[in-house]
């Protein structure tokens, strides 16, 4: 294995040993003979690349792991105090204990709410359902550890008429119930297939995607229609008793070989088509539609969609879900891109994807348990550092951790934590910790970050964008600078209270609070020198130091 020279972050080989030990320990407790998932992950990732043992980066240091997993599971960075405690601990199980603490924290459902909001709504603007209701629905779901398949079924069956599930109806309603947008989005998000090109003809590049697949999915939704209650207060996603999809390939039309428009009943891909009940004319509705009354058909196609998608027969859902949640933590899917699951684009590690998908299915879509296994794997815990003389690795080998830009929400909350604003808030709350109150107070801040750093509405998963206006905001806007003003308990306040003759303590606190690690000797010296010239204006100098650290590339990325 290549030698890592002077990496400022350092490596903790001990923790790798500890982890292996722990894996064996928890494995022995398992009822089944099968090894725990994280061991299978490591075995199959290693098997997927020749010379993996020599190529793989060493495990991340404790500091790097702490920062990474905290960002991934709670959406912000650890406090300086947490960093000190974790780094000082010699408990061989400390990584597992940390993971379990984070997964039990109130920040976990908040983080998952943010992730799912962006994932499922792609920052589309609010139309018919208040965003707050939708976010509360997501938050409550993850706080109760609702199974992922149940959440998806609820979203796909909510029509907005029941106040209790109104939030969940945002998925349909804020897309205006538009059948093509929904067909495409449901395919991408829950089936791992982007069928857009199959709307007008069989997919020209992907043999597996047929026009009949597109319309089989669209047939569940074609009867949907928006209904406004007479008081105009609510828009509901109603359904008619009639309406069929029709399609004709534009290629066949062009080549004059079209046999005319075709239709299909609802069906997922090449699955079984169920016969539909027939009703006499005039008896199609339980509640007849009227201008003032929302019709309810005797037979609802849409009510079948949730079960069709999440049911045991549809393997695509568990594959797509396992892959997508893997990608959240690993920066890349085993199938890449996430919505191109088809025969000509095999997974990088086919057997692993099978195991991940069946694990998620067997654990009844318990996402918390599933993500816990991934972060406990050595694969997740690889370092992101690679010396210039080390052989390069392909990203699909997962032999080295990826560099992932913080999402706008993560960046906002990491900055609030890095500058110690959250410490100050918690201190002010004394013995009554109330995350919701803090979240509410900083909602405006979060929204500013989303509008400045977020992607355009409706554009899924585009790459990283670093623009001049963002840098100007971070450099000059009063918002971030206001967090550098001393306030009881925040970082600037804590630093000013450290005696001027102890610059090393200042350097330690600065680095732990912002970059979740101790400074190395050069970095400590750099800070001493910076402060030595500024005895007359120490506070501005400290503020400049905080600014330089929280705007550094090391802070901006999860690594």
């Amino acid at each position: 294995m290549w030698q890592r020279p002077s990496d400022p972050l350092g490596v903790c080989w001990r923790s790798m040993v500890a982890l292996t030990f722990l894996a064996a320990f928890t494995g022995s407790k398992s009822v089944q003979a099968a090894p725990p998932l994280h061991e299978s992950i490591d075995r199959l990732i290693a098997a997927g690349t020749p010379d993996y043992a020599t190529l793989a980066a060493p495990l991340a240091s404790d500091a790097e792991f702490l920062r990474r997993v905290t960002l991934d599971l709670t959406g912000t960075i650890p406090t300086a105090a947490e960093a000190r405690e974790f780094l000082a601990s010699s408990d061989p199980e400390k990584r597992t204990q940390l993971v379990d603490r984070l997964l039990a924290s109130p920040e976990w459902p908040r983080r998952m709410q943010q992730v799912c909001d962006v994932l499922l709504m792609e920052r589309l603007p609010q139309k018919h359902v208040p965003v707050a209701d939708w976010q509360k629905y997501l938050h409550d779901s993850f706080a109760a550890n609702k199974p992922w398949d149940q959440l998806v079924r609820e979203i796909l069956s909510a029509d907005g008429s029941d106040p209790a599930t109104r939030g969940a109806a945002r998925f349909y309603l804020d897309r205006d119930g538009e059948v093509h947008q929904l067909t495409r989005d449901i395919g991408r998000l829950f089936l791992g297939v982007d069928l857009e090109c199959a709307q007008c003809h069989n997919h020209p590049q992907v043999d597996d995607y047929k026009q009949s697949h597109y319309y089989g999915l669209a047939a569940y939704l074609i009867r949907g229609t928006l209904f406004n209650t007479p008081d105009k207060k609510l828009t509901i996603y109603a359904e008619k008793a009639d309406g069929e999809v029709t399609y004709e390939s534009v290629f066949d039309l062009r080549d004059k070989i079209s046999k005319g428009p075709q239709t299909t009943l609802p069906v997922l891909f090449d699955g079984q088509v169920a016969a539909e009940p027939k009703f006499k004319k005039g008896e199609e509705y339980t509640v007849k539609p009227d201008k003032k009354v929302r019709g309810i058909p005797n037979y609802s196609r849409r009510s079948l969609l949730g079960d069709a998608i999440t049911g045991p027969d549809n393997v695509r859902f568990r594959r797509a879900s396992a892959n997508r949640w893997w990608a959240l933590l690993m920066g890349r899917g085993l199938i890449d891109p996430l919505d191109r699951d088809h025969g000509d684009n095999p997974p990088s590690h086919p057997e692993l994807l099978e195991i991940l998908a069946s694990d998620l299915f067997q654990r009844k879509y318990d996402l918390r348990g599933y993500l816990r296994e991934i972060v406990l794997s050595q694969t997740y815990q690889r370092g992101s550092f690679r010396p210039a003389d080390a052989p390069p690795v392909e990203p699909e080998s997962f032999a080295q951790a990826t560099i992932r830009p913080l999402a706008p929400e993560q960046f906002a909350w990491a900055l609030l934590q890095g500058t110690g604003m959250l410490d100050a808030e918690r201190l002010a709350q004394k013995d009554k910790p109330d995350l919701a109150a803090i979240v509410k107070k900083y909602r405006g801040v979060e929204n500013r970050f989303i509008s400045l750093f977020g992607n355009e509405p409706g554009r899924p998963e585009p790459g990283f964008d670093a623009r001049t206006d963002q840098a100007l905001f971070l450099a000059n806007d009063p918002l971030l600078l206001s967090w550098l003003q001393p306030r009881t308990g925040n970082l600037a306040d804590r630093l000013t209270k450290i005696p001027a003759d102890n610059p090393q303590a200042v350097a330690d606190e600065l680095y732990l609070a912002t970059l979740t690690r101790f400074p190395n000797s050069d970095e400590g010296a750099e800070i001493r020198e910076y402060l030595a010239t500024r005895t007359a204006d120490r506070l501005p100098a400290l503020q400049e130091l905080i600014w330089a650290l929280v705007t550094s590339a090391e802070f901006r990325f999860n690594h």
């Binding site: 355009e456 554009r459 001049t468 910076y530 550094s552």
Partner: protein
């Protein structure tokens, strides 16, 4: 045709100046070189090729602008008028522009076969039809990459009025994305906070950079690079904040151009060109006239005509037209058929644009539509032809490719070529 720079190449001049600026050491590294380079940038501005696109959003009518058909059942109520270019007639709604036609060529045979706003705008600004899963760079980003001197303190592509998207740069990267100027002003957060001295601002930036330099090696990643370069660009921009101080624009110009926001944007565009900005897009909106087409065009073109013509005249008078390409485009034209609401609908089948200045033969006309404007009958062209023509006009080779992760992407559609008829 090649660019003629005083010293051979743009890179040469700016690199030499950069070295001179480097006596201030770290200043240059941080992007503060802009301060010491201001005069070099101005000198460069007199040589450098520049581009202004006027984008008339919604789809301006070709019949009420560049290709009038009075006296036919599709022609509408307006007459055509003669212009300063012999034999070239345009709609009477553009009397001021008519007096600048010696500088402008017309392309009257455009058929983009696209009647959707977004897709039409995409074709006109990328030269290609939209493809799922792949994004072509917009003209502004492409030219910013090719024409903007590498060490220019100013962004290569600035948008005035609505309509700038970071994604316009596509695979060229965020460095070439448009900078949108807010209504009536400089970019936000351009001023250094009052609490920071210039020296301390530089010190904190140097420190920021050093922390990043320790992190980056061993983590080769283009995202890291993009993040760090955004700070350098920001610092360069701050150093030239004088460029964005529009309060000093001569008051008498307000009389000549007009007071509304489009008129102001024309003046701002002129000032930005004078300061060396490479590519400017000025948007003017409200041309989507499905009803009341004629009243709306009286109103909108009434707003467009005088400031645009004044802008052309000013460019000419300052000698800037020789190196500045000006294009007036839209996402499509409007139907010859007049609908029941006296409107015209979307029409990508037979329509026109105007362009002039650098590399363009003023007063030339290429392409022809039939008597009622329902069809192109001579020299039919699409977005690809237009892109080749823009490239040729500014002296760039449109047969070359960009490379996206090693994959060649032709700068202009190889199935098309330039309109030599209107090139100098």
């Amino acid at each position: 045709m090649n660019c003629h720079y005083a010293c051979g190449t743009a890179a040469h001049l700016s690199r030499r100046s950069f070295l001179q600026g480097a006596t201030t050491g770290a200043l240059g590294m941080l992007g503060f070189s802009g301060m010491v380079q201001a005069s070099a940038a101005q000198k460069l501005a007199s040589q450098q090729k520049q581009v202004v696109v006027f984008f008339l959003k919604g789809g301006v009518s070709q019949l009420e602008t560049w290709d009038p058909k009075p006296g036919t059942d599709t022609g509408g109520p307006f007459q055509k008028i003669s212009t300063s270019a012999p034999g070239v007639e345009i709609c009477e709604l553009l009397p001021h522009t008519a007096r600048q036609m010696q500088h402008l060529a017309l392309v009257r045979g455009i058929n983009t076969k696209e009647n959707d706003h977004g897709k039409g705008a995409y074709i006109m600004q990328t030269g290609y039809r939209q493809q799922p899963g792949f994004e072509y760079p917009y003209l502004g980003s492409a030219f910013s990459r090719q024409l903007n001197p590498p060490d220019s303190p100013l962004p290569g592509y600035i948008c005035l009025g609505a309509g700038a998207r970071a994604q316009e740069a596509a695979f060229l990267g965020p460095k070439y994305a448009p900078l949108a100027l807010p209504e009536e002003g400089a970019p936000q957060n351009l001023a250094r906070p009052a609490s920071l001295t210039e020296q301390h601002d530089m010190q904190r930036r140097l420190l920021r950079q050093r922390i990043g330099q320790r992190f980056a090696p061993g983590r080769r990643d283009s995202d890291l690079e993009a993040y760090n370069s955004s700070y350098e660009q920001a610092a360069r921009l701050m150093a030239r904040s004088d460029v964005f101080d529009f309060s000093k624009m001569p008051a008498k110009d307000e009389e000549r151009y007009g007071k509304h926001s489009f008129a102001r944007n024309c003046r701002v565009a002129l000032r930005l060109l004078e300061n060396g900005v490479t590519f400017i897009k000025v948007s003017h909106t409200n041309y989507d006239t499905h009803s009341e087409n004629f009243n709306f065009h009286i109103e909108q073109l009434g707003e467009f005509d005088r400031p645009f013509a004044t802008f052309m005249a000013d460019l000419h008078e300052r000698g800037m037209l020789q190196h500045t390409l000006v294009i007036v485009m839209s996402e499509f034209g409007r139907t010859p058929n007049i609908n029941s609401k006296l409107g015209r609908d979307h029409w990508g089948t037979a329509w026109s644009i105007a362009l002039g200045g650098c590399g363009i033969k003023g007063g030339a006309v290429v392409g022809k539509t039939n008597e009622k404007g329902t069809q192109v009958i001579d020299r039919e062209v699409n977005g690809g032809h237009l892109f080749h023509t823009y490239y040729h006009a500014v002296g760039l080779d449109s047969s070359k490719s960009f490379y996206d992760k090693g994959r060649p992407v032709a700068k202009a559609d190889p199935k098309t070529d330039a309109l030599q008829e209107i090139l100098v």
